[in-house]
Symmetry: C2
Subunit: 377 residues, 2 copies
């Protein structure tokens, strides 16, 4: 676009005033060590490719027909996985689309929606897109969320849990507290990374995910995605779980925007992924083990690493010069994410990668430290 002058004379005021989301950089560079967009280092379940190939082998002709508008098979599989009714499950074209529909369905009211000041950077964009007032509540000094800070009139609350980019987890008891105290507002728990989370007691998944609360609270809506723990960022599937009335609102909003958001291949692939629980558990444990080893390696290099419940870690080098480190790493083809804002500028967000990628990263960081020592001495 740089060569051509953009003329906004024909745009709506809304279009003129947007500040679009800027996703983490995608690059096709060959020797890239891509640790900047929280993708899974492992491939998706082989059942995904098999399911899509089967559709193409036996039903390629049926691509001429519209897909199931409400993705019934996929929703049924997700409902069964979580012990829910199919009418408690909504799916969309990535959790980004689901979240957009959430803002329009629940937060577009006279009072503001509350969200942490450090969180997913798409939330302020959605607020602007739909004319929703967003009030950002400061994280505590240790980056944790204090539910008491949310005790104020609001249209709703949205919290990423685990939060990004901190990786910290809010407990289910805190989520219960928020839901109880705001019984006339929708509490959205964005669980993009929840499958990587753990409890201090070492409990199972259900002990950290707010999906376990939706039969108890009619105002809790949980969003999740296939992009992280299911290694399917390329397939664009996200979902929401909640009371039937919340799901009905999302369905109506969807059908007022785009009736068929999931194509036939994505529906088949995502369904196969849900059914392959063994593969899912296996790669999850591998990512968690890699997260733990990366945490240990960085700690050994004097980084302060926040306890991560996600597939990324948020870490501060000893002297806080994160911006410079990100720049030098980038020159070497190692991409990590740096958020240049007051409270996050001394930290790097590093996606959990393969052991080989970690080795390359750690070598580069060690070389940097040796250089610095040489300069200092």
């Amino acid at each position: 676009m740089s060569e051509q002058k953009i003329d906004s004379r024909l745009w709506s005021t809304k279009a003129r005033n947007l500040s679009p989301y800027v996703p983490g950089e995608q690059s096709e560079h060959d020797n890239l060590c891509k640790l900047n967009t929280n993708e899974n280092p492992f491939p998706p379940s082989p059942k995904v490719g098999e399911a899509v190939t089967a559709v193409l082998a036996h039903q390629a002709d049926e691509l001429r027909l519209y897909p199931a508008p409400e993705s019934d098979d996929l929703r049924a599989a997700l409902a069964q996985l979580h012990g829910l009714d199919i009418n408690q499950v909504f799916v969309g074209n990535g959790s980004d689309e689901v979240l957009a529909l959430v803002f329009a369905s629940f937060f577009l009211k006279e009072r503001p929606v509350l969200a942490p000041d450090i969180s997913y950077s798409f939330y302020p964009v959605y607020a602007q897109t739909f004319g929703v007032e967003l009030l950002q509540i400061a994280l505590e000094a240790d980056f944790s969320i204090d539910p008491d800070a949310y005790r104020q009139p609001c249209s709703g609350i949205i919290i990423a849990n685990p939060n990004a980019p901190t990786g910290l987890l809010l407990s289910l008891s805190d989520i219960r507290k928020l839901a109880s105290e705001h019984s006339n507002s929708v509490i959205v728990i964005d669980e993009a990374y929840i499958d990587f989370a753990y409890t201090d007691e070492g409990g199972s998944d259900t002990a950290v995910s707010a999906v376990s609360l939706i039969n108890e609270f009619d105002n809790i809506l949980v969003t999740q995605t296939f992009s992280k723990s299911r290694s399917l960022a390329g397939l664009r599937v996200g979902m929401a779980f909640g009371n039937v009335s919340l799901i009905e609102a999302l369905t109506r909003m969807k059908n007022s925007f785009n009736s068929y958001p999931l194509d036939k291949l994505a529906q088949a692939g995502a369904t196969a992924s849900v059914l392959d629980t063994a593969y899912f558990e296996q790669t999850l444990q591998q990512v968690i083990a890699l997260r733990d080893s990366l945490t240990a390696q960085l700690t050994a290099l004097d980084y302060k690493v926040l306890p991560s419940h996600a597939n990324f870690i948020f870490a501060r080098p000893k002297d806080g010069n994160a911006s410079e480190i990100a720049r030098v790493l980038r020159e070497q083809g190692i991409m990590v994410r740096h958020f240049d804002r007051p409270r996050t500028q001394e930290y790097l967000r590093i996606t959990v990668g393969t052991a080989a990628q970690h080795e390359r990263l750690i070598s580069a960081l060690k070389a940097l430290q040796t250089q610095d020592d040489a300069v200092t001495n």
Copy 2:
């Protein structure tokens, strides 16, 4: 949902006031003769399945990575097909998503957007979704569009061309006239069915599509879809062509809503479809020939058939009892569309199907007429 009570207490006013779009019924019934949703009777190009299979065979692992956010390969293929610059091309998750972004980007202004009173029934839904005022302009008595009726202040104009459900075509000279007379408004020509259109002079595609006008008029935006002429309703891909400034507005709106609307498989499949021009031309001619024969068959049964430029026909049985005919056909597993509104209630909209489907339809209609004659006599 019928069993469970829906409670809208937590919904936004916007969610409460929606009247969602109701798509033509999808059914998995085996012996169904489905002539109600304007899908193509022929399968998509075999290259589509091959391209997706190749992605799965060689790059299944890469489904773990986000897709190209702006679908560059697909946009480049479309640009080349139409002799445009890639920055004059936008793609989305079906033309329904593209149209939603159009309403938000161009029509959300103080004046109303103008559209024909009989047209695609999603337009009033989008208007409601985005708070756009829609002023419907009556079609002429013969269902044609009179450009002079649009000579009034407006935020923009949207016209399906060929129009649905009439199948009638607006000429390029009329579109030029609209664009000239409203140089400060965006004129959206929704060309979902344009590939099936023809000129009375028997000209080529470029002689009917407004894509040929976009280098001349900076206020013409043309939307198209892969769902009809490319037999890919199941893959969810739509596009828009226009001046770079219009495309930039759509891109900004998209990135304020959902950054990655097209998954990797849909991008690969759609690109392969664009490149297979020979298959495209061949199936197009087959559909057009079938439309002509169906028109002749219905005319022989005393139906009044409007001259169709689409892959459906709009036809009135001699006695105008379209509702009853649709009902009886449905009982026999033959689905056609009936719009129960004052000016359309005496017509049926019938999708062009295979020769076998036409035979079944015509037999059923003949049997009905014989019955009627028996009753009359």
